[in-house]
Point group: D2
Chain length 469, copies 4
Amino acid sequence: MIERYARATMVALWSDATRLHLWCLLEVALARAQAKRKDIPEQAAGVIARYTRFDEQLLARSKELEKETHHDVVAFLRALEERMVEAEKGLSGYSRYLHFGATSSDILDSAFAIQLVQAAKILEKGLESLNEAIKARAQEHKDTICLGRSHGMAAEPTTFGLKLLSFYAEFNRAIERLQKAREEVSTISMSGTVGHYAFQHPDVEVEVANYLNQTLQDSLHKTLQGKNSDKILELVAKIPWQLRCEPIATQVIPRDRHAMFFATLGVIASSLERLSTEIRHLQRSEVAEVSEDFTAGQTGSSAMPHKRNPILSENVTGLSRLVRMSVQPALENVALWHERDISHSSVERVIAPDSTITLDFAIARMTNVIENLLVFPQSMEKNLIETKGVLFSHGLLLQLLKKGIGRNDAYKIVQRTSILALDKGEELAEILKLDEEINSLFSDAELSTLSDNSHYVRHVDDLFARVLK
Amino acid sequence: MIERYARATMVALWSDATRLHLWCLLEVALARAQAKRKDIPEQAAGVIARYTRFDEQLLARSKELEKETHHDVVAFLRALEERMVEAEKGLSGYSRYLHFGATSSDILDSAFAIQLVQAAKILEKGLESLNEAIKARAQEHKDTICLGRSHGMAAEPTTFGLKLLSFYAEFNRAIERLQKAREEVSTISMSGTVGHYAFQHPDVEVEVANYLNQTLQDSLHKTLQGKNSDKILELVAKIPWQLRCEPIATQVIPRDRHAMFFATLGVIASSLERLSTEIRHLQRSEVAEVSEDFTAGQTGSSAMPHKRNPILSENVTGLSRLVRMSVQPALENVALWHERDISHSSVERVIAPDSTITLDFAIARMTNVIENLLVFPQSMEKNLIETKGVLFSHGLLLQLLKKGIGRNDAYKIVQRTSILALDKGEELAEILKLDEEINSLFSDAELSTLSDNSHYVRHVDDLFARVLK
Amino acid sequence: MIERYARATMVALWSDATRLHLWCLLEVALARAQAKRKDIPEQAAGVIARYTRFDEQLLARSKELEKETHHDVVAFLRALEERMVEAEKGLSGYSRYLHFGATSSDILDSAFAIQLVQAAKILEKGLESLNEAIKARAQEHKDTICLGRSHGMAAEPTTFGLKLLSFYAEFNRAIERLQKAREEVSTISMSGTVGHYAFQHPDVEVEVANYLNQTLQDSLHKTLQGKNSDKILELVAKIPWQLRCEPIATQVIPRDRHAMFFATLGVIASSLERLSTEIRHLQRSEVAEVSEDFTAGQTGSSAMPHKRNPILSENVTGLSRLVRMSVQPALENVALWHERDISHSSVERVIAPDSTITLDFAIARMTNVIENLLVFPQSMEKNLIETKGVLFSHGLLLQLLKKGIGRNDAYKIVQRTSILALDKGEELAEILKLDEEINSLFSDAELSTLSDNSHYVRHVDDLFARVLK
Amino acid sequence: MIERYARATMVALWSDATRLHLWCLLEVALARAQAKRKDIPEQAAGVIARYTRFDEQLLARSKELEKETHHDVVAFLRALEERMVEAEKGLSGYSRYLHFGATSSDILDSAFAIQLVQAAKILEKGLESLNEAIKARAQEHKDTICLGRSHGMAAEPTTFGLKLLSFYAEFNRAIERLQKAREEVSTISMSGTVGHYAFQHPDVEVEVANYLNQTLQDSLHKTLQGKNSDKILELVAKIPWQLRCEPIATQVIPRDRHAMFFATLGVIASSLERLSTEIRHLQRSEVAEVSEDFTAGQTGSSAMPHKRNPILSENVTGLSRLVRMSVQPALENVALWHERDISHSSVERVIAPDSTITLDFAIARMTNVIENLLVFPQSMEKNLIETKGVLFSHGLLLQLLKKGIGRNDAYKIVQRTSILALDKGEELAEILKLDEEINSLFSDAELSTLSDNSHYVRHVDDLFARVLK
């Protein structure tokens, strides 16, 4: 992750502060659940709840102790204990009931799950915003005729709105995939060192999950607010917390869940790449059908002042490579040795923030590109005209078949005439009029209806209806 | 794909014969649907249905014509037309209504979808078989005490059944993911050259999908049967066909669907790697808790006759790398240019068969390993005993806390005594008895209950109940 | 690997026949070297040399026995022994000296090294052919003026030859990298089960390597000839065999060598992708500066007869993804457990043939594309003209600086005028003439020299000289 | 990159400060070279040299201006100009000769090359330190007998030193590969917007390269010193600077060079993974042949105080995944559009620092592990003894062959007896003595020499001699 490609809320989610905040929350929830079951004294839970609160000193002291212990959770617990020991004179040493019967992974993995879920929620709202933008532009250009292209070559007339509609459908799929990926990582666990609840009753984690589902919304909101994107937090707040308990953990929550999560981000990034690639193509000098908005102060090329480059879309293309690169290490993280090894940890400390922050930024950048995209219908029309009508060849072919010409012969007629049109730079319609074979089959009126754009796009309204339903 | 790592049914699914069979089916379904709508003459659909049938001559002639046309669908259509032209004397040239208004991708992508769905079904049934085997062995060893390990180090007693249970849960998730992946690729499309139904009414593909959903089961069954695994086909037949129409294609069915499919296979392969890695660890000489079955004729090392190597599990580890390698190119396939380019085609011709065939084989091999796995409870016990009881340290720690010792002090006591036990090679219990600090806190009876395996595994039945529910 | 994207010689290199041929060769060389040192009786080496020869029966019998033994080398040895036992009546049981003191990996890895080296030689000659084609076309179009583009936007005039020259330099680097990669995998080993020559004197493998370096050229030539590309074999024959002994193996030749090999193929594939992407861009309808040759019989789009699609280049783009996908599993293959495990084997059985065959085919296809590429200088000129001269903005900027205008002001002048030119669709030169600020600084003559293409390409000859030296 | 896995010198190399420092250096070198050729006034070069110096204000002002211009090089140039404009009253506006005729990429890519080369030098010295440690431990344990293992199973006796020696050889290869990778990226370029020197004479960059080769050592040393690892800088200083000019750039230095660089890092990371995996295996409870040093304050498991986990090696395993993940995006960066697009930029801003910083840290951590590795020869002996002598089976097999037994029969005898030994838990030697077939062939004396460890390791000195030569 680098600042350049990051938005504040997602960055804050992955900060040391948020992590410690979540650890505090989990320890408090754990003690609370244990006290409810009488596994620890009720006063202990009270003391723990009173002192296990995140503040900057806790962070500082934890970092200090980590240098000594080389273990972040142990340092965190020790910092809390120091605090309680000092405070609890006469409180009967309740600090020892902190983290009682738990193993580090219980806290680490559960907190990680919360971060991933929150990240997924932010990404989901980001994708929704992107799709609102795409939808608005698609509707705006529902009937803006332009070239459809395959292999980079003019194919048949379509509309620019229809092009965008296919991205809208694709990002709707992205949202659904992200929701599924979120569910995948929505489990917490308090099952202990090898996952068999040797020192923690299974009911404890159920109580913890319930408590979190009720408190996380407020708690995370407070932690993350004040950043650039409080608006996002409001949107995100509409998605309820539905953490579940891991049916069977080893020591850790199984990493196939996380692999699925990061793989899904990779797919979504690839969809962003498709959209950014489309814009880069449409903006290139010779096509010039759209342009990223060239805002006031922005400098283009340092050497070539005339250039308006699609640098935001190019950037998103690069960012999508960055998001994708997390997929492979996430897959390699699955096969931990026995009940767990720690090889996945360094990987996740990097890829979890990096891929979510990068994807969040890329989505927001793409949203901005789409919202402000300059669209040039005249260029679209010009590019259509320059095809000399050969893109009506498919229609001609079908008419020839209907007239009773065999497919092979029909194909040859169309190929012959359309290539002649391209090579001569004349309208196919004109070439056809001069062609004896064609003339014997079609009236002039028939020929002119062949090249009617409106025929090609007559189902556009239906398509919009079925996709936007 | 290589024969060595392939099973016949999945290979047959990806054969030229099956592909042409499906193309025939689609052309017939298309003509049928068009005739129903009066888009083509009813007799034409009849003629097409009569002659558009797969046989070996069709395959041979198509291959011949492909050398000329460099285009497989065109060659296929031409081969069919030749056949019809010859036959249809007096039939008014109905051959020209074959593939009427369609583009190659309509056929290619729809047939590809059918193959992917069928592959997913076979894989799903394979995973179910694997999980039946895992479940049976898990139940068999529900109470077989063994070491739980983290970091490759003895951690706490658990049961071998519980280990297997975590894999059972993981492969259940794999099955669910595969079902979702199957749904992702369950769309066909007849939307034409740039996806806007210029020469095909949108209702046609709906009719085609309905027809396929009714006929595919029988049709594919006939095509694929006679291979090694008719049993699989029977199982697969229980999953109904539910093809849908792509809401909006470009020319092609959007490749984010396929990316999601192959990414899912990659995650499943990683779960197989976790299981194979576990077995490799447990079989190593010094652990020797399980062994792959060493069937009669099998030769181990050519040089070292004494060795019984976990070669099947090692093989599955390698195969999972092979399955995973399809993920990245599938992600790169998403960003096709404009309404499509053909760069994805070569990639899919390779990765679709290769990844599904390899995964199918790996699942079957793993199933075989699990079904026949030799389990050595005595070795498990021996390995437990050799830990000298230090793996009860967590329990000791918690007891010390309960006795009122602060966490930090308790930790030091336990670390001191347990490392002494390991270094001296004596039982921790004995070390503890000689420790003054401990002696002042615990009775001998208390100490002996500390090292009771049964305490550790007391929730095993509950865990089985909740996972196998 | 699929037939569609494969050339016969490379396919033959990876056939079962060639592999068994090499195994025979290695066993003979081993016995010969051992006899020379008196480690085995001289007659034994003679008998082994006589019977250890590849023929189809050996292959068939080996395959048969492999079904029993599940081990290809053991099956191969047994097939040979059967043959000798039958033949050697009265020959004192010399068959037992076959493979004496060797382990399977000695044979497997050494044969694999030979295949990889030969594959690298073929690829190297393929790249040389590609670069001959590129060089010829570069020289042909050394002075063909065209647009240079950055960000897909017109930048400055350049020449088409210069474009190609940069690819020529890139593929020269590819050749050098491949040579280094070949050296990496040019080691054989006969060091035994854990690499310490317990039952084989270290001198034996030295003798084997020497023998192979003298005999491989002929031997491989005979095995591979008769395929499509005997011409390649002649070219390849010019690269001498320089196998070395692995300084220290474990049981296997260390896999970091192979990882480096496959990683290098991945880089080369990416260079092919760059070239194929360039052609796809230049061929697109609106650019139309080049075209793949549209040979006679070839059918383009099945639906749109007018289209001449850059399908070969698109195909190469896809193939390069396929070559690249071998990199990751090759990297994962390095960390074998202890002195070796067998997880790498399945991976290599697939990726070694697949990546070399695919890359070989892609290189040949690209060579064909370049050799036959249609180049349209008139389109290039047209595209230049349509930029309205704004691509001379950098020159204008520098002239302004020379006239004493500050950079910031100069930049603004150029941006203002050039964007005006683009927006109005008028020549920048005309805009400039009407601009008061410009008029006060430049004479008309100065302005017209600004837009002189020849100025931009004045170093082209020098660049050709230094790259083609 | 995260602080946790980073060393100060490498981090400093990739800081904004160092980058701006290098940009200053390049602008000064450019002006100097241009003045030498009289392309700009000599006084201009003097003024530029005077004011183009890195300090914190320059960095701050650049960052400020970047928010306005969205272009880092433009912001940097403007910050410098402001400074000069203010200072140069009466200096005839020499600021306009800053960056004269250059394009951003000239500076960006050349500075990037310098950073990559310096990073490679640091990594090379790191690998040398690692290999010194490996070599020392290898020599120390040259004759420490231990088990060689294949498939995780006991194979034959070897020495621990020999194991390490194979890693020594592997990391020597890593060093060589890194040197080649460094050469790959050792080019700078000042060739302008599309690489054809339209506004910069080709001789200028030659002069710049010469100047850099003379000044970089001092200059970088000053910039980077004061960090934790001045010792590294001293070592690095011994590698001379040998920057060359890119024979032909497009606008950018071709990215196949960078792809090769990052691919090489991936291979090196995989070698680290092999070493870390070996240690993790050898440290596991049941093997216990080595242990990472468990330094004083370090806490192991938070829950299980007795555990000494190989967490550093596990960490390196994870870090190697992180280094490898840069390979794929680097490969995708090669195929830039036409003369360049900017998609590679975001990728490189992340992967260049991240992969080099992570690899640097992983190498240092591994060095530390090896230097302090606790080695337990007694455990090694114990593990050998527990094999019951079956690992001498290969020797027995060969002796049987020498006695005239056919291979197949010999194999069966050995397999029968050795599996009996393993199953009964008795010494193979004892089993053999009771075996009639064996007894008829061997004397007791012969049998006892069979199981002589020293026979197996008799070539160890030779191997050390040839690898350490």
